[in-house]
């Protein structure tokens, strides 16, 4: 039996061996995988080290060649020869003898000093001990001991001083003997220094450990290990432009302001910072991780996490432009978006729209705004004809009882008036903001409607009232009140109505028809359902509007405030981190990739495509607009951002500090409200950046020039901007004019008693000044003014100013024309501007030439001579 067992067991040895070997192999594989397979960054770091080594090596070789080329070698040889000679002198027996003697003496005196020091320490120790006992017991014998010891200490200190003197003397003597060689050695060292440093760099690079590089942000426990592969990302010098070795692009913008060791990477770039085992995992492009890597311009969406003011933020240009789209299309009207709460309505007030537009126009507009003009901002709601009519009925019933159009087909336009209106149209530069027939609308940042077909949209009476005082109809409109006379307005109205007509519309004109109560009711429901009041003001008007008794008896009422919802759309404040599970892909679940960005894009492209019953209208965004808006929405996250990273907007900061935002005061405020200077100009942080910032205009511009310019604005930068001719009054106002009161007008705008220009100039000189700009520039007494001017002129030529600036007809057109600069700018401004152009306009393109003060005086004096003779 034992035998049988043995047989059995020996048969199984092979199985044993087999499985043991398999297990061993598996274990080895596990070890290998853990060491290399799961640690791809090791390879990258090794590779990077090699690359860097090669680069430093070649730098070193180049430095050696440079050193030789510049004669460094011969100089070095020479120095070494001199060193050898000096060494020989020092090594001569006589000198050696002397040196040895001196050294012995020095050592002796040094030993004496040491024993003296020891004595001193002993005495001090005893002294402290006696002092302790004396303080404790107050026995006089301790005091006596202390005095004795104090005398001893003083004696030792005296001795020490004399010893030190002797020591010094011997040291000097010794140094004198060796100084020649020491100095030469130092000189040689100095010559070699550059090369040695490079060598050291190579050596230290080779010693860099291959390890996980991690940035840990403690307060939110974020650990970014991206730099384990992107090893050169925060380097000053580019080692290789290949991924993952390259350095961060534009690091002077991004990394210099966001130290990677404090911010990490994933704050801006997202991705899975902790992952180290594969590129897909690290970049977060895997299942169960829904914050994939952002790269390229898309990364700028992350700026929205911390920065309150995106506009004008360096490095956030793309997202800055994109955020403007939210304002343009007024997304905030229906959706809650933090930071956009206090912006006014996108659409015009509709309460009086029945007295403004033609009924047929209103219906067609509701059906498809883009049909009327392609740049219309109002989205398409996919209303049926009946629905559009119901809404139009509701709107028209607020100011009347009929559907009606105004038909001018039979009235002949007054040719003379039209001609006058045409002149006014171009003089006032209406086309600066408004497009007609595809022309105009340079100032894209002010949204102004296309007027190509406006003659068929509005009636003359309304147009007259509008031009007379736009604020009265639509408080807060961007349309300025031009200082036209009634006669001029009549002419303009005549011109507009006859010139800009929609020929197709003629055929559709409807005769007055009584509006039916049922239709109004339906319209009201639709308005409620689609939230028209998000963009258009309708509220608070119910009691002001007359409803025909017949309608009233049929139970028609208008929307009350409590019948309007706060925001009709989904809140967007954290749409960028909304869990995928909460995004309803509906019937498109299989048609588009299931990620957040694709969802947002698809929603913007086809807002009602996901399922039935959605209400969001179609803005018919271009593909690039879709991408831009999606990028912005993607950046609205609830990311956990430490407070110390936050850069609140100026507005928020002011609010926190209890500072009131800047407010225009007095007559100037009225002028601004009337003329809307801030449509284009920025003043003390208010307004747009289309035209020059006027915050320090009082210190910058000369009064005479301001007066002249405001009366008749002309071109300063030929290629860029124009200012509309607003017809501001120069002299005393002709008479106090009171605007006619519209039946809804709550606001009365009066002309100021002073002339507009006086008001502006006063305000400029009192408020818009800075102490940074001196009233006068320093003078040079040692040189005559003409000589300074000619030096300035020479400098102007020498520095090539003319490549951008024009004087007369000579020069480039990028910078402002300087032909009349002597009349326009104040010398103090020019002087300071030449010192640091960015001080007053941070994004200016003018280079910094590093002028000295004298040069700036020359140039200023020269420029102040540039005046056009005006007569």
């Amino acid at each position: 039996m034992a035998n049988e067992q043995k047989n059995n067991s020996s048969n199984r040895v092979y199985i044993f061996v087999f499985f043991s070997v398999v297990l061993l192999a598996l274990s080895l594989w596990v070890v290998w995988d853990d060491e290399f397979g799961l640690r791809p960054w090791k390879k990258y770091q090794q590779e990077f080290k090699t690359l860097k080594h090669d680069k430093l090596e070649s730098e070193y070789r180049k430095a050696v060649v440079d050193f030789q080329r510049s004669g460094g070698h011969t100089r070095l040889a020479e120095l070494e020869a001199r060193l050898a000679k000096a060494e020989a002198v020092f090594q001569s027996p006589a000198n050696q003898e002397k040196y040895k003697q001196l050294t012995t003496q020095f050592d002796d005196i040094h030993a004496t000093a040491a024993s003296n020091q020891k004595e001193l320490q002993n005495a001090r120790g005893k002294f402290l001990e006696s002092e302790y006992y004396f303080t404790k017991t107050q026995k006089p014998e301790y005091k006596a001991t202390m005095d004795l010891l104090q005398r001893e200490i003083d004696a030792i200190n005296l001795r020490r001083a004399s010893i030190q003197k002797k020591e010094e003397a011997f040291k000097n003597a010794l140094n004198e003997m060796t100084s020649a060689t020491v100095n030469l050695k130092a000189e040689i060292e100095d010559m070699k220094k550059g090369l040695e440093e490079l060598k050291e760099k190579i050596a230290s690079n080779d010693k860099v450990a291959v390890e996980i590089k991690q940035v840990h942000i403690k307060d939110i426990d974020k650990a970014d290990r991206c730099q384990s592969c992107h090893i050169g990302i925060d380097g000053k010098h580019q080692v290789s432009s290949l991924q993952p070795f390259t350095k961060h692009p534009a690091s002077f913008v991004y990394l210099d302001h966001h130290d990677p060791s404090k911010f990490g990477c994933t704050f801006c770039h997202r991705g899975q910072g902790r992952a180290t085992t594969s590129v897909e995992k690290a970049h977060g492009k895997v299942k169960h991780f829904d914050e994939p890597l952002l790269d390229g311009d898309m990364t700028q969406t992350s700026c929205l996490n911390c920065h309150g003011d995106i506009k004008g933020l360096r490095g956030a240009e793309q997202i800055g432009i994109s955020t403007e789209l939210i304002k343009k299309y007024g997304c905030y009207s229906c959706h809650k978006i933090p930071g956009y709460e206090s912006i006014g309505d996108v659409g015009p007030v509709l309460t009086e729209v029945g007295s403004k537009v033609n009924y047929s126009w209103a219906v067609n507009w509701l059906l498809d705004p883009k049909k009327y003009f392609s740049t219309a901002r109002m989205p398409k709601f996919f209303f049926t004809q009946a629905q559009a009519e119901a809404i139009a009925d509701y709107l028209f019933s607020m100011s009347g009882t009929t559907r009606h159009d105004v038909d001018y087909a039979n009235t002949q336009p007054n040719a003379q008036l039209v001609e006058q209106g045409k002149t006014l149209w171009s003089q006032a530069r209406c086309n600066l903001c408004h497009t007609t027939g595809g022309r105009g609308g340079n100032h894209i940042k002010v949204y102004a409607p296309d007027l190509s077909k406006v003659g068929s949209k509005v009636n003359k009476e309304w147009l007259f009232k509008w031009l007379k005082n736009p604020n009265a109809y639509f408080p807060g409109t961007k349309m300025p009140r031009f200082r036209f006379t009634d006669q001029e307005i009549n002419a303009l109205v005549e011109y507009i109505v006859s010139e800009y007509k929609d020929d197709e519309a003629e055929a559709r004109y409807v005769q007055p028809v009584e509006i039916k109560a049922a239709s109004i009711k339906k319209g009201k429901e639709l308005i409620q359902q689609y939230g028209c009041y998000g963009c258009h003001k309708l509220q608070g008007m119910e009691e002001m509007v007359q409803i025909a008794p017949s309608l009233k008896s049929q139970g028609v009422s208008f929307l009350r405030k409590d019948e309007m919802r706060e925001k009709i759309g989904t809140e967007l404040s954290s749409i960028g981190s909304k869990p995928l599970e909460m995004l309803d892909f509906g019937k498109l679940a299989k048609a588009i990739p299931n990620d957040r960005l694709s969802y947002l894009k698809q929603k913007l492209r086809d807002p009602r495509g996901f399922r039935l019953g959605l209400r969001m209208p179609d803005f018919r965004l271009s593909e690039s607009e879709v991408n831009e808006l999606a990028a912005v929405l993607y950046g609205f996250t609830d990311a956990n951002v430490p407070v110390r990273f936050m850069v609140p907007s100026r507005q928020e900061l002011d609010k926190m500090a209890g500072v009131q935002g800047y407010k225009f005061t007095g007559d100037f405020a009225k002028v601004i409200a009337d003329v809307k200077c801030t449509n284009c100009h920025s003043i003390k942080g208010i307004g747009a950046d289309y035209a020059p910032d006027l915050s320090i205009a009082g210190s910058k511009l000369q009064e005479k020039w301001i007066r002249k310019f405001l009366a008749n604005p002309d071109v300063i930068r030929p290629l860029l901007q124009q200012m509309p001719k607003l017809g501001l009054t120069l002299g005393k106002p002709a008479a106090k004019v009171t605007m006619p009161k519209f039946n809804l007008g709550k606001q009365r705008v009066e002309d100021t008693n002073k002339s507009d220009v006086d008001v502006v100039v006063d305000y400029f000189q009192q408020e818009l000044v800075t102490t940074d700009i001196p009233k006068a520039i320093p003078t040079i007494t040692t040189m005559a003014l003409p000589e300074q001017i000619s030096k300035g002129k020479a400098l102007y030529e020498f520095k090539g100013c003319r490549s951008c600036h024009q004087i007369g007809l000579d020069g480039g057109a990028l910078g402002p024309n300087l032909s009349d600069v002597g009349n326009r700018l104040q010398p103090g401004f020019i002087f300071r501007h030449l010192e640091n152009a960015r001080k007053f306009k941070p994004d200016i393109v003018e280079p910094d030439y590093g002028f000295t003060e004298r040069e700036r005086i020359y140039l200023t004096n020269f420029l102040m001579t540039l005046k056009l003779n005006t007569k």
Binding site: V30, D33, D34, L38, I212, D221, A223, R225, R274, A275, T276, T277, H288
Partner: protein
């Protein structure tokens, strides 16, 4: 150069070798017996067993495999405990870092997870085998009962471990699992008759399981302690009884007619 037997002889004569194994092994009957009862681990076995115990076709080795899986889980589990904090702030990143940071973290976690699934499967098959061979019959009735408890404990071990990574999978598995507890008659707030005992979500059996009205930090801590301390301890004690009773009840069951 010495031959292999010579070296082996030398090793066996070595003082340290002798101190460990106490005696020579000459493959005599006595030696073979000594090898078993002289060894604390093998001591579990009798000196001689019936042939069937060695044949896979009878036992399928399932009990032994279960025990082996348990040992493997204890070992990997102890190492995993070094890298884990049972708090909702850290648990998830700790598991992530097992992959990204910890040496052999991936294989450790994988072995632990798959080992656990494997143990559940094997323990069920073990029960099936014991039933199919009628091995619960006298005199092994009591040991079958111990086995049933061990089966339940195995489920609970796996169940409590499910929550520890603090991910969606575990969180919702535990939520679904413990929600059933809320339906316990009398003691769960959704269960029949519970209103007569004034049971609310805040004093019912589910609250006791989770340490809260829903799965949260306390539930994580509780499941961690059950998983790492309490249930393994109870299981080990029951395993002792189980193994001891296997011996006392006569080893592997043999045909009794």
């Amino acid at each position: 150069m010495k031959s292999l037997p010579e070296i082996s002889e030398k090793v066996r004569k070595n003082l340290i070798w002798k101190s460990i194994f106490r005696r020579d092994y000459r493959n005599s009957i006595r030696d073979r017996a000594q090898a078993v009862f002289g060894n604390v681990f093998l001591h579990l076995h009798p000196v001689q067993v019936r042939e069937s115990a060695v044949k896979l076709r009878f036992t399928w080795g399932m009990g032994g495999i279960t025990f082996f899986a348990f040992i493997l889980l204890v070992i990997t589990g102890v190492v995993l405990m070094f890298y884990y904090h049972p708090s909702i702030d850290q648990a998830y990143t700790d598991i992530k870092d097992l992959e990204f940071q910890v040496p052999f973290g991936v294989i450790l976690r994988n072995l632990h997870r798959w080992g656990a699934h494997f143990m559940v499967i094997v323990v069920m098959i073990h029960m099936f085998r014991v039933f199919m061979t009628g091995s619960y019959k006298a005199p092994r009735q009591f040991n079958w009962g111990i086995g049933v408890f061990l089966l339940v404990l195995t489920f609970l071990l796996s169940f409590t471990g499910y929550l520890t990574p603090w991910d969606q999978l575990g969180f919702w598995a535990i939520t679904v699992g413990t929600n059933m507890g809320a339906a316990t008659p009398l003691l769960g707030y959704q269960g029949p008759f519970s209103e007569y005992l004034h049971i609310t979500p805040y004093n019912d059996i589910r609250f006791a399981l989770l340490g809260g009205a829903q799965v949260g930090g306390n539930a994580l801590l509780r499941s961690y302690i059950w998983h790492c301390v309490a249930i393994p301890l109870i299981s080990i004690i029951l395993m002792f009884v189980h193994f001891w009773r296997v011996r006392k009840d006569g080893g592997i069951s043999k045909p009794q007619k």
